[in-house]
Amino acid sequence: MEELANLFHGFAVALQPYNIMLMIIGITLGVIIGVLPGLGGANGVAILLPLTFSMPPTSAIIMLSCIYWGALFGGAITSILFNIPGEPWSVATTFDGYPMAQQGRPGEALTAAFTSSFVGALFAVIMITLVAPLVAGFALRFGPAEKFAVYFLAFCSFVGLSKEPPFKTIAAMMMGFALAAVGLDSITGQLRLTFGVTELLNGFDFLIAVIGLFGIGEILLTMEEGLAFRGGNASINLRVVLQTWRELPAYWMTSLRSCLIGCWMGVTPAGATPASFMSYGIAKRLARRGNNFGKGEIEGVIAPETAAHAAGTSALLPMLSLGVPGSPTAAVLLGGLLIWGLQPGPMLFVEQKEFVWGLIASMYLGNLAGLIVVLTCVPIFAAILRVPFGIIAPLILVLCAIGAYSVHNSTFDVMLMLVFGVLGYLLKKCNYPLAPLVLAIVLGDKAEEAFRQSLLGSQGSLGVFFSNGLVSTIMALGLVALFWSAIQEGYSRLRMSMA
């Protein structure tokens, strides 16, 4: 009951006119940041952090977290309209969102994406409100072995549940692992595969790879197909929002499952990106129309978006209660907290009640404000697709180049983006799936790091991955996911022989 009283006090803080104004400014800035590929939530928050130093800490964190929500919403827009994910966690949204836009249903896809984002975030905030202390402790049980198990599960669910030929999936994934290995090896502190080229010190940044593989690759494909830009007949009025809403309740099962996956991945803290991929992979296997995934299925938008937002929101919990950021953006927010003299950790919930509950209340209000802002803009976004390809393609190219440049302020990255563009085009022509490649670039080095940390700790014994109930369960789930097709086949054969 005390929590509820605190929460209402928090609402009172968040609803002050000054804070509401900051909320709306934050959401708008966030959406813009999310739309620009490469700028990203983390960079956006970092750039705007100093602006907030003259504000009281509660107002400042409300504004910054609203930028964060805004970026989460905004990432979906370019994914759906142009097949360019603005943020890592919106990659999975492109799989079905972009085909939908091409079929002239961008409004529907955007509405589904925004609404699912809201549902995911709301679910996570309610969880934070009710069970924060319980869940916070859970993250402590995650050492390197447990973390590796989570990544393993994400990879396996992608290989095993994908409908592509498994060997092509694995080949693409291995290519991603090789790319992820370039740069500094964080375990030995030595450079790998850089061949003395100083530009490669950083390795291949995920965002540059994605902007090239998806954005540039897509433009090349469209050019080959005769400059046709399918999506021109997009309906542009607000009625599409209501129509889509009428459809959405039918997918409650997918939403609920995605919420749970998202919250779990956010708290553990593996983050929003694996959550969105895993949720998409599982939905693809379990949905009734799963065979249609990748061809513009609305469920294929709902699943990753819900999970990404549930994860993005619940990632703030380990940050506040333990001081471990669940995402790069959360890491920058964490830096902000320290600058305001707020020490994240077990005592924050006890000593800074007004701040914590003000923040939680702003999660409710910020997400609601965000939903309203982006939904009213759906027709405007959808109308972008009516612009002829000859005009929009150069604009997208410029946007991609700016995005790639702004990741590290380096022109080398712009070249790299073009190389990835050609690679993306070739892979698509040869029918290799791009998603596993991207997944491996994002999570490859993290998985490797966790794997080697575990083995250092266990002095080389692989038994560490089955050393306690938690890690064994996750590993076992991973193995089941990997061999899912084989298991299913075996089961049906068994039934046949019984009959």
Binding site: A46, L49, T194, L201, V324, Q459
Partner: protein
């Protein structure tokens, strides 16, 4: 927002008047100044750089904006090489940590601090030996006894990065107490502290700011500080204990000292006027209450050096790192 803008404008006018009368500043930035951070967002160097950026903006200490840019690739090598190749560009400064020495030594990238122009030392960061509060080690002696008794390599030390400051300290402790640890590198200091809370490692050498929250929450226990004298801050943090009450490791029989540089460098071939401008700027930053609050929160050692003293200090420190890393076998082949 209006009154704030007005204040800033007024402050700007006041500041420019004060400047023009007090000192006939010979050089001033004419375009935005890039402030390079050779580490990722959210870490210690990044926090310090962004605090400075906030202070400069709030007190209007510069006429041109100060823009923080992270160049973390190759353990900071990316940032150092960027400044090294910007010879004669006075609009680029860099904040450094110990990776100024350790990164070129461990990776063999073509860089040495002499490639840059030293500006000033802002502070030194302390290192503290931490254990989980559930463990029965109440003193350095308990800890050393336990580490010696454990089978070789089964005692786990968590730290930030590989072949950097945390691992150098770990190797130093191993030498002093004649025991073998397994060092497990993580990406960031906050993560290291949480791994210790979760009992996934046995001890850490976190900076104060990285572990203070867990100390206050009763999850971690500080055993000693790797400095010549105890830290200066006497405000109680947990159980009535203050930073000042943590004994030095040396006094507890663990003779190892290590402090990490938080200093500023600029591009090669800077003129005297340009260096002077930045030294004065950082003196102003250090005088603000925000900076003092930041120093207190992180229990920093607030030594300030500039000019020849600073260069001499870096030279001595470089030799020391070379020695420590050679002993530990961390030098890249070819160095």
């Amino acid at each position: 927002m209006k009154p704030f803008v007005l204040n800033v404008a007024l402050a700007a006018i006041a500041m420019s008047c004060a400047n023009s009368t007090a000192s006939r500043a010979a050089w001033e930035p004419v375009r935005p100044v890039e402030f390079i951070v050779p580490a990722g967002t959210g870490g210690g160097a990044d926090q310090m750089a962004r605090t400075i950026q906030g202070i400069v903006t709030k007190h209007n200490l510069m006429k041109q904006p100060l823009v923080v840019i992270n160049k973390a690739g190759g353990a900071g090598g990316e940032g150092f090489l960027d400044v090294k190749t910007s010879s004669g560009n006075p609009h680029k400064i860099i904040i450094t940590l110990s990776n100024l020495f350790t990164t070129p030594l461990a990776t063999g990238i073509p860089f040495n601090w002499k490639d840059l122009t030293p500006v000033a030392m802002l502070a030194l960061d302390e290192f503290v030996l931490w254990v989980n509060a559930e463990k029965p080690y109440n003193s350095v002696k308990d800890y050393v006894d336990a580490a010696k008794k454990a089978p070789s390599g089964s005692f786990k030390m968590g730290g930030t990065g590989s072949k950097q400051e945390d691992q150098i300290i770990t190797v130093g402790i191993e030498k002093v107490i004649d025991a073998k640890f397994t060092y497990i590198p993580y990406k960031g200091g906050g993560e290291v502290a949480v791994q210790l809370v979760g009992n996934h490692v046995d001890s850490t050498v976190n900076n104060p700011i990285e572990a203070v929250a867990q100390w206050r929450g009763g999850k971690l226990r500080p055993l000693c500080v790797f400095d010549a004298q105890p830290m200066a801050y006497d405000e109680p943090i947990a159980d009535g204990k203050a930073w000042k009450d943590i004994p030095t490791c040396k006094s507890q029989g663990l003779a190892m000292e290590y402090l990490m540089l938080r200093g500023i460098f600029m591009s090669p071939k800077a003129t005297k006027d340009q260096i002077e401008y930045y030294v004065e700027l950082f003196k102003k930053v250090r005088a603000t209450p925000e900076w003092q609050e930041f120093m207190k929160n992180g229990a920093f050692n607030t030594t300030f050096l500039a000019g020849a003293d600073y260069a001499k200090w870096i030279e001595a420190e470089e030799k020391r790192h070379e020695g420590l890393m050679k002993e530990a076998g961390f030098l890249a082949s070819g160095n």
